[in-house]
Structures are given as structure tokens and as C-alpha cells.
């Protein structure tokens, strides 16, 4: 159990984390989302005891990080951003060093090192110096040191950054396997990753929580949720054809492909079957027809940009791409 209450972290005059409170229970895989500079990494650094909080408290399994940092650090496995490791050591030497510090020796140490090497597939590079490894291998070495003591709490700052799609898939699978009786907190920019591995997502912006829920629930809050994406085969007056339908809220035409439309429902309504009926009755020249499930990305943008605007950080809105199929 991680309990974070009223956590604030300031650097000089800059408030990186602003009165943050949440808790994470065993078995949860929490995705920590937010734009760059939102305070994700800072929060993780405070939880892992690298930075001292300016105010508020962090408790892991009942141990307060400010009072008993060693107890908390023993419970946590942490992959810092960029997966730093001692470049002049070989992978084996490095893992041996970490295992020593974690208090393992003899047979037990040997067994644990072998296990993590197999788990993150480092067999081919165990005798190479970390300096000479590719970014993907370095990241995996970082993961290996984080899980070597089978920690109750696993905190991973951008664990799949710099990996190729196969490696990403592998790491996600690894996280899912590890997650059973643990607490896993991962930060990421890749929103599909959240849908793929997380049971819960927290979006933070300017150091505050702006959304907290399951990835599905957050997707449902997107304005695309329940919308219909449609591509027409020939020119057709869609506005006129839908004029009578009360369920239809608005229609958006794609800027790049003028025959592609997204039909949004009125809040609280379903629009799919109505549009389907109308298209069949009116014999529309339909080429593609999808139900959009809701886009985490869209929701992410809407909540984080609203906060950025409030904070006075003007950022050009990213062009909304309509007609994205879900």
C-alpha cells in the first residue's frame, strides 16, 4: 500500500508537485500520465526517497519515507528515468553489486541473478560492459536491477522508452506477470501502454491530479466516446441527411479527407444505431463505418491542455484528427 497525502515538492519558486494525494493498493498497476514537466518524475523521486518532500507525507506499507527511508527503500524496486547504471561494470558485476546491497549472498544471490537475467533476456550480454550495450539492453539492465529482490513495490519511470516494438511488448508482458501481488507504478508518454498494462490511470498536469480512473473509464470520458466514424464513397450531403436526428450532436469533417466524417452524439445519447438505420434507409454511399470507443489520447489532451491554459502556459493545440478509427 502506498499512501501519499498532501504531497508538495517545490524547487526554489517552482512548484513541481502541488498538494497531491492518492493511494495505491496491492495488485494495482498504476499508469502515471502527464505532459513533460507535469511532475511525474518528481513524484516518483519523492516516493523512492531520492528527494525529500517540501510538505506532505509518503508512506509505503506503513513506513514513512521521511522517518524510515531505509525500510521504504528495501521494499521498493526503482527504475529511474533513463535507466542509469555503472557504465564501467559488466552486466553480471552490476547485478552482483545490486544483489549484494539488497542483502543476498551465496546460492540465493546466484539464483536471483540467474532468474532476472532470464526474465529480461540478458543472457547474451552478461559479460559485456554496460557502456557497450544498446539503449534497449541498458533499459533491460535497469529493469533487472529493479526486480532482483522481488520487491513489493515496483516504480518504473518510462520503462519502455527507447525500446523497439518487440521489446516493448516483452516488457509489458513482464510487468503484467510481475503485477500479481505487487504495486506497480509506471510513468509513460505512450497512452496505448496504459490501456495495455494498467488497471488504473492517473493523469497529472502542473503537479495536480486532473483525472483518476480505469483506462476504460477515462476513454469513455473522451468526447469521441460513442461517436461514429464514417467515410463516404462519393459526394453526399451528410448534414441534410442527419438534420432530423435528435441524437446527433455535431458533425466534424476531416480536414485532409473531406469525405471522412465523425458524428458525435448529443451528451447521454447513443448515435450508432440511429446513424446505421438512416444510412441504410437513405442508401448513403458508405465506404467505412466504425463505432469510436473513445480515445485516451483525446481525453489526455483535453484535461492537460485545460490545466496548461489555466496555468498560463500557452501551447498551440494539436490538430484534432477526426475520423480516427478505434
Amino acid at each position: 500500500m502506498i499512501e501519499i497525502s498532501h504531497l508538495t515538492k517545490k524547487f526554489d519558486n517552482f512548484t513541481a508537485v502541488d498538494n497531491l494525494s492518492f493511494s495505491v493498493a496491492e495488485g494495482e498497476v498504476l499508469g502515471f500520465l502527464g505532459p513533460n514537466g507535469a511532475g511525474k518524475s518528481t513524484t516518483m523521486k519523492v516516493i523512492t526517497g531520492f528527494l525529500a518532500p517540501t510538505a506532505g507525507s509518503v508512506k509505503v506499507d506503513g513506513h514513512d519515507i521521511s522517518i524510515d527511508p531505509i525500510a521504504v527503500k528495501s521494499l521498493i524496486g526503482y527504475l529511474p528515468e533513463g535507466a542509469p547504471s555503472y557504465a564501467d561494470m559488466t552486466v553480471l558485476q552490476f547485478l552482483d553489486f545490486i544483489a549484494d546491497i539488497r542483502g543476498f549472498s551465496g546460492q540465493e544471490k546466484r539464483r536471483r541473478i540467474d532468474k532476472v537475467v532470464a526474465e529480461v533476456e540478458l543472457e547474451s550480454v552478461v559479460h559485456k560492459t554496460i557502456d557497450t550495450l544498446s539503449k534497449g539492453f541498458k533499459r533491460r539492465v535497469g529493469l533487472a536491477q529493479a526486480i532482483i529482490h522481488d520487491p513489493k513495490v515496483l516504480i518504473l519511470d518510462e520503462p519502455t522508452d527507447g525500446l523497439d516494438p518487440n521489446q516493448k511488448h516483452h516488457v509489458r508482458q513482464l510487468i503484467r506477470n510481475l503485477a500479481k501481488d505487487k504495486i506497480v507504478v509506471i510513468s509513460t508518454h505512450i497512452l496505448e501502454e496504459v490501456s495495455a498494462v494498467c488497471t488504473r490511470a492517473i493523469i497529472i498536469a502542473a503537479g495536480r491530479i486532473v483525472a483518476d480512473g480505469t483506462p476504460k473509464a477515462l476513454e469513455a470520458r473522451s468526447r469521441y466516446h460513442g461517436a461514429v466514424s464514417l467515410r463516404l464513397a462519393s459526394d453526399f450531403d451528410l448534414q441534410a441527411a442527419l438534420a432530423g436526428a435528435a441524437e446527433v450532436g455535431s458533425i466534424e469533417q476531416n480536414a485532409e479527407d473531406p469525405r471522412r466524417f465523425v458524428i458525435f452524439p448529443q451528451p447521454g445519447n447513443q448515435v450508432f444505431s440511429k446513424v446505421l438505420d438512416l444510412s441504410q434507409a437513405g442508401q448513403w454511399p458508405v465506404a467505412e463505418f466504425h463505432l469510436v470507443e473513445g480515445l485516451l489520447e483525446d481525453y489526455f489532451r483535453s484535461v492537460t491542455q485545460a490545466t496548461a491554459a489555466k496555468a498560463g502556459v500557452s501551447e498551440a493545440p494539436v490538430g484534432q484528427q477526426a475520423g480516427v478509427t478505434a
Binding site: 523521486k45 523512492t48 531520492f50 531505509i70 564501467d88 553489486f97
Partner: protein
Amino acid sequence: MKIMGIIFRRELASYFATPLAYVFMVIFLVMSGIFTFDLGAFYQRGQADLVPFFNFHPWLYLFMIPAIAMSLWADERKTGTIELLMTLPVKLSDAVLGKFLAAWVLTGVALLLTFPIWITVNYLGNPDNGVIIAGYLGSWLMAGGFLAIGSCMSALTRNPVIAFILTVAICFVFVASGSEIVLNAFTWAPQVLVDAIASLSFLTHFDSISKGVLDVRDILFFVIFIGSWLLASAIVIEIKKAN
């Protein structure tokens, strides 16, 4: 204590995993040879002792030790491993001491490798070996003092070159404050002040040890000096580790 040992071993091994340890030892041996035989006129003096050898140590250390010390913490900061180290269940004191001891042992090994000069002087004459052992001890203690300053300076910055320059500058102050030139500049000052300045100098304490006078106060000076600078290192790391 156990954790400190683990960090100590890792650090020491990493000196020898890179050319750093070897370059340091070779240059140290070559330089101390040149200083002793050339500048120190070891043969011409016609005396069976190692005074010319030890006399140059403060000046040799002034440039050699900062070169080792500069990367102690600056590198950890630069590569981000400080975040790894400080989030492992490791006490800051263990990390500071472990790193310091590894560097100190490296200088100790370099110092021990000067043994041919000890053999030479024993072959040529009958020196007082007790004085020579005291000289080695004093020299090693002084190296520790330099290193402790370097540890603190290295903690201040993520740039090893800046750490090097700062360390040289501060070490110079602690060496030179005992020299005639500096002390003569303070002839106007009350004797107490002159004594205070001189007593802070490495030279004052090192000279008496290397003459074979093993005064507890001189040894205590170095021990307290090292302790204070290491404490300062820990405080600086704690304050500055975020940036």
C-alpha cells in the same frame, strides 16, 4: 558497515576496470622519482634518509589527488547513478565513506609501490626505518586530507573539471598556509593568528610526522580534518542531489 564494504569494493574495482588506476600509479611513481632524484638531489645530499622523497609529496598530491577525487560524486551526478545509489537501501554515510576509502586505498597502493626507493636507501646506507615508516604514514594521512576536500568539491558540481580546479585551489590554501612565504606575509599579525594559520596547514603537520615525530595531535589533525570534509560532502550531497 557491510554496505560500506560493498560500495568500497565496487569503487575500488571500477578504478582498476578503467585505465585510471594504472595511469595514476605510473605517473605518481615517475613524478616522485623525478622529484626525489633530480630536484631533491637524493644522491648529492649523501644522507641515508627519504627527506627529499617526502618533501615533495604535498606538491605532488596537489595535482594528483584532485584528479582522482574529481569524479567521486560529479560522475554519479552526471550519469544519473546517484539516483540509483540513493534509492537503494544505503545510508548516505556508507556511500560517502565507501567511496572515500576506495580512493584512499588507491593512493595507498600507489604510495606502497614506491618501495624500491626504500630498498635503494637501505642498500646505500643505514637509514632510520622508523622515520621512513612514519613518513609513509604521514604522507598517506595527508593524501586522505586532500581526498576529503576533493570529495566535497566533487559533490558540489556535476562537472569533474570544475571539481578538479576547486580542489586544487582549496588544497593549495591548506598546503601553502604553512609555508614561509605565507607566514612571513603575516609578520604584522599577532603570534596567535600566525600560529593558527600555520596549524591549519598540511605542511606543518606532515613535516613533524615525516621527521619521525609521531605526535597524536598531528595524527588527530588529519583524522578530524578528513572527518569534517566528509561530513561537509554528505551535507552538500543531501542538499544538491536534485539538480
